[in-house]
């Protein structure tokens, strides 16, 4: 082995922890993939072989009583290879004290001479005598009976009749009886008569001569036979032409396999991400080695080869593990599906192309995933790689997770060390997984970010002094809500608030549209976001809460400056998270906020300490008369909050919400009980 390959294998072994995880991930994907692929290959062969062996009818025509003369006429029709009369009758069946089940009785004239859609004897007697019934092997469990026992059968027009179960058969053409919850029974014409039915057969099962798999040909023959029947004055009730040569449930099987294979592909894709990660990390940690190899004459492609070798090794290891597992899994899958589809496996032989395809996918996936980091990493210049100014090794302690782990307290030191050590190499891996899941979560929550921003206020105020807050769907006159609250017994105090969202207008941004703060709050309910149209990225929005002056329902912990005073007009209190984000939000300074369609200037009077991380600001709800004189306070409000006596039970609040909703259903949107111990939100 050349030194280059030695390096590949040794590095692989040195990184065995991490490589192992990646191999496991790839192997999982490959195993699922090969299980599906091999079972598909096996089942496709076996299912159709077994099915074709029964000479399945090319089509079935339903008419009325078939006689010998008709059978012969159809049999003599060109294109018809064989024809056979059958009948299927549905009824009910019961074994002993068990429940009634649906039964589908197939009536066969001569069990010794079945040519089309054959059934095979399995156990017990063959053919059934008069007063006897054969049962499909899978249907015994549905019927809850055994050979030698008797069952009661009732057909729509007949009386209850007792039949003896004399044997079991295998009917490949039927779906699994257990799945369908139907008993398949096979009887003679005489037995049918004893069940109170007219003893005739009404189906013609026809197998075409010539190409049995040509749908056009089959349709032609079917049309001919139909004409023949019609010419003889026979009714044609139905013509069924199944997909030629295809088991009726092959599609179902295909769908099941597709579901499993998509799981395999998903895992394979995910493992690709891990490969990218592993190789990026590996190459970053080996920058100096790469530089050294270049210094002693290694070209970019030679160095890339080494790391592609690494990826290849991952693939080889994964395929080596996954192929046997996958083939075994494929067998299990075949057994399961063959039971499900009620046919017998004769051979588990896997075609060679399956092995080849699996190996190809297993080797190509990691190579493909590795191509970006490898080509990028091997392209670094010698000087960059060798100088201290190049990419430095990032040791333990630089990642977010590392720091989080470093912060884990209260654990015995050796254990902590062990945890840190085991995470050292896996940080990236864990981070990847975290990123992936967080990314998904983020995407979903982003869709709903505006709603959630306002909702946050419901949940996260640490300083709330109320038991229930009710959100209204639209702005509503305060008096009417106060009336509604007063009429709903139990509330001690209520206040109307406005919740909206705003953003800080940067110093350079347009300040022309300035108006009073109150106007901003007014417009802010639903039309938010329509106003500010400065170029560049959308400004970060935060929640703004307008409260009644001198609110008794919210007591903030002021860390700097002061709380809102009843006489304040353009005063604003921000929480620490908001102040941390904007340098202009400092006590004593002014800030221009965009709210709704307007911008307005506010004086920052205080900073409130808050445990949660989302920024918000609080100001007085519109008292426009004091500022611009355009609208009288308070005209409308978005939130109602109230508190009641200390005796608490969620039941009480639920009843209150119910009463309130009956009164104000048009406006009610959602109620939140911030202080209830469990299940604090009741969304309506």
């Amino acid at each position: 082995m050349s030194p280059r390959w030695r390096k590949v294998t040794r590095d692989f072994w040195q990184e065995r922890m991490r490589s192992g995880l990646v191999v496991a991930a790839i192997a999982l994907g490959i195993a699922a993939f090969s299980a599906v692929l091999s079972s598909y290959a096996i089942l496709d062969r076996e299912l159709n072989q077994g099915y074709l062996a029964t000479n399945p009818a090319s089509f079935t025509i339903r008419t009325d009583a078939v006689d010998r003369e008709l059978l012969e006429a159809v049999g003599a029709q060109p294109g018809v290879q064989s024809v056979e009369a059958r009948r299927a009758v549905s009824g009910r069946l019961k074994a002993g004290p068990a429940q009634w089940r649906s039964v589908l009785l197939f009536v066969v004239k001569d069990f010794a001479d079945i040519k089309v859609s054959t059934i095979a004897p399995e156990t017990g007697a063959w053919p059934p005598g008069t007063g006897e019934i054969l049962i499909e092997r899978d249907a015994f469990q549905v019927a809850k009976t055994r050979i030698g026992q008797t069952v009661t059968v009732k057909l729509p027009r007949g009386e209850d009749q007792t039949l003896r179960v004399s044997g079991g058969v295998h009917d490949v053409g039927q779906a699994q009886a257990r799945m369908e919850n139907v008993v398949y029974g096979y009887i003679t014409l005489q037995t049918l008569a004893s069940l109170g039915e007219e003893p005739f057969l009404d189906q013609l099962k026809i197998l075409v001569s010539g190409d049995r798999f040509d749908p056009v040909h089959i349709a032609e023959v079917a049309a001919d036979v139909r004409k023949l029947l019609e010419n003889r004055g026979r009714p044609v009730r139905r013509v069924d032409v199944p997909d030629p040569g295809k088991h009726p449930h092959a599609d179902l099987m295909g769908m099941l396999l597709l579901a499993i294979s998509s799981f395999g592909l998903l895992v394979l894709g995910l493992s690709g991400v891990l490969v990218v990660n592993l190789l990026t990390a590996l190459m970053a940690s080996q920058v100096r080695q790469i530089g050294m190899m270049k210094a002693i004459g290694g070209t970019r492609s030679q160095i890339a080869q080494i790391y592609f070798g690494q990826a290849l090794l991952l693939g080889v290891a994964a395929v080596a593990i996954a192929l046997p597992v996958g083939i075994l899994g494929g067998r299990a899958l075949c057994l399961y599906l063959s039971g499900f589809l009620n046919f017998d496996m004769t051979s588990f032989a896997v075609p060679v192309w399956v092995y080849l395809l699996v190996a190809l996918v297993g080797l190509v996936t990691p190579l493909l995933a590795a191509s970006y980091p490898v080509l990028k990493g091997s392209g670094i210049s010698v000087w960059e790689a060798l100088s201290d100014f190049g990419v430095a090794d990032r040791g333990f302690g630089s990642g977010v997770l590392d720091r989080a782990l470093a912060g884990v307290g209260g654990v015995a030191r050796p254990l902590l060390l062990a945890i840190r050590n085991s995470f050292r190499r896996r940080t990236r891996l864990v981070l990847t997984l975290l990123t992936l899941s967080v990314g998904g979560l983020f995407f979903m929550s982003a869709l709903n970010i505006r709603t959630s921003m306002i909702n946050t206020l419901d949940h996260l105020f640490a300083s709330r002094r109320f038991d229930l807050s009710v959100s209204l769907g639209t702005m509503a006159p305060l008096e009417s809500i106060e009336r509604a609250v007063a009429k709903t017994p139990g509330a001690v105090r209520s206040e109307g608030w406005i919740a909206t969202e705003g953003f800080v207008v940067s110093a350079a941004g347009s300040a022309s549209a300035q108006s009073s703060g109150a106007a901003g709050l007014h417009g802010g309910q639903e039309g938010a976001g329509g106003g500010h149209s400065a170029a560049g990225p959308a400004p970060a929005r935060f929640a703004v809460l307008g409260v009644q002056p001198g609110t008794k329902l919210l007591k903030l912990e002021i860390s700097e400056g002061r709380d809102l005073l009843p006489e304040d007009v353009d005063a604003l209190v921000a929480n620490t998270a908001l102040a941390a984000r904007y340098p202009q939000i400092r006590v004593g300074q002014s800030v221009v906020l965009g709210m709704g369609p307007a911008e307005s200037t506010w004086r920052v009077v205080g900073i409130a300490r808050e445990a949660f991380l989302l920024p918000w600001a609080m100001c007085r709800a519109p008292t426009s008369s004091a500022r611009a004189g355009t609208c009288a306070w308070p005209t409308r409000f978005g939130w109602g909050s109230f508190s009641r006596t200390p005796r608490r039970s969620t039941g009480f609040e639920k009843r209150w919400i119910k009463t309130f909703k009956e009164r104000e259903s048009g406006r009610f949107r959602r109620a939140v009980m911030p202080r209830a111990a469990s299940d604090s939100t009741s969304t309506c």
Binding site: S2, P3, R4, R6, K7, R10, D11, Q14, R288, Q289, M292, M293, K294, A295, I296, G297, G298, T299, R300, Q302, S381, V382, W383, L386
Partner: protein
């Protein structure tokens, strides 16, 4: 091999502004010469060696090694060129940690592909024998002492029998006795016709070297 440097300038751009590490260096070094580049820390010794070895590129001026002007070559061509023409030795040995000593020495031959694969191992062993560490051939580098590792690095630099050896403070991490041995090795190489350039802080080297190039703030003096 003849090395010719003509009006060589190297300017580094840093956040604090640009910095001239080499200024107007003109230098000719003959085949089989053993040259020591000396000067204070930061005077430009490593920079000079890096330019000669094609590891770094001059801002202006030309570098010609054995008649080949290397300043215009691509990264990849430079790597190939280095593989056959220059052996590099560094202060911190820079052996690949997951390869054995023997494999480290075989690696340049593997990259260059000059010898038939079957001949590489015997050649690597004979090189290790020449530098006196053949007993360590199958160990990993970390199992060797600093002096032993530096000998391996020298053997590796010799793997493709290059006409030029560049060594940046090859004795910087060694005790004085070991340093003397290593310098002796270079002396032997130079006497056998290899051009050897070392950057060094060693004092008592006058007896082993042929010539001293003195750098002061990026300028060759005397």
């Amino acid at each position: 091999m003849l090395i010719e440097l003509q009006s060589l300038n190297k300017t580094y751009k840093t956040e604090a502004g640009s910095f001239s590490a080499l200024r107007g260096v003109d230098l000719t070094i003959g085949a089989g010469e053993f040259v020591a580049v000396v000067g204070k820390s930061g005077s430009g010794k490593s920079t000079l060696l890096n330019l000669v070895g094609g590891i770094d590129r001059p801002t202006s001026g030309s570098v010609s090694v054995g008649g080949t002007a290397i300043q215009g070559m691509s990264e990849n061509d430079l790597a190939i060129w280095r593989g056959g023409n220059v052996g590099l030795v560094f202060q911190f040995f820079q052996l690949l940690p997951t390869l054995t000593v023997l494999e480290n020495v075989m690696l340049p031959m593997d990259f260059r592909g000059t010898l038939p694969p079957a001949d590489r191992r015997p050649r690597a062993l004979s090189l290790l024998d020449r530098v006196g560490v053949v007993e360590q051939a199958n160990k990993l580098p970390q199992a060797l002492s600093g002096g032993q590792q530096q000998r391996v690095a020298i053997a590796r630099a010799l793997a493709n029998d290059p006409p030029v050896i560049l060594a940046d403070e090859p004795t910087g991490n060694l005790d004085s006795a070991t340093a003397k041995d290593v310098l002796g090795l270079f002396r032997g190489l130079a006497s056998a016709g290899t051009t050897v350039i070392i950057a060094t802080h060693e004092r008592d080297i006058a007896s082993v070297i042929d010539r001293t190039v003195h750098l002061v703030d990026g300028v060759v003096v005397r």
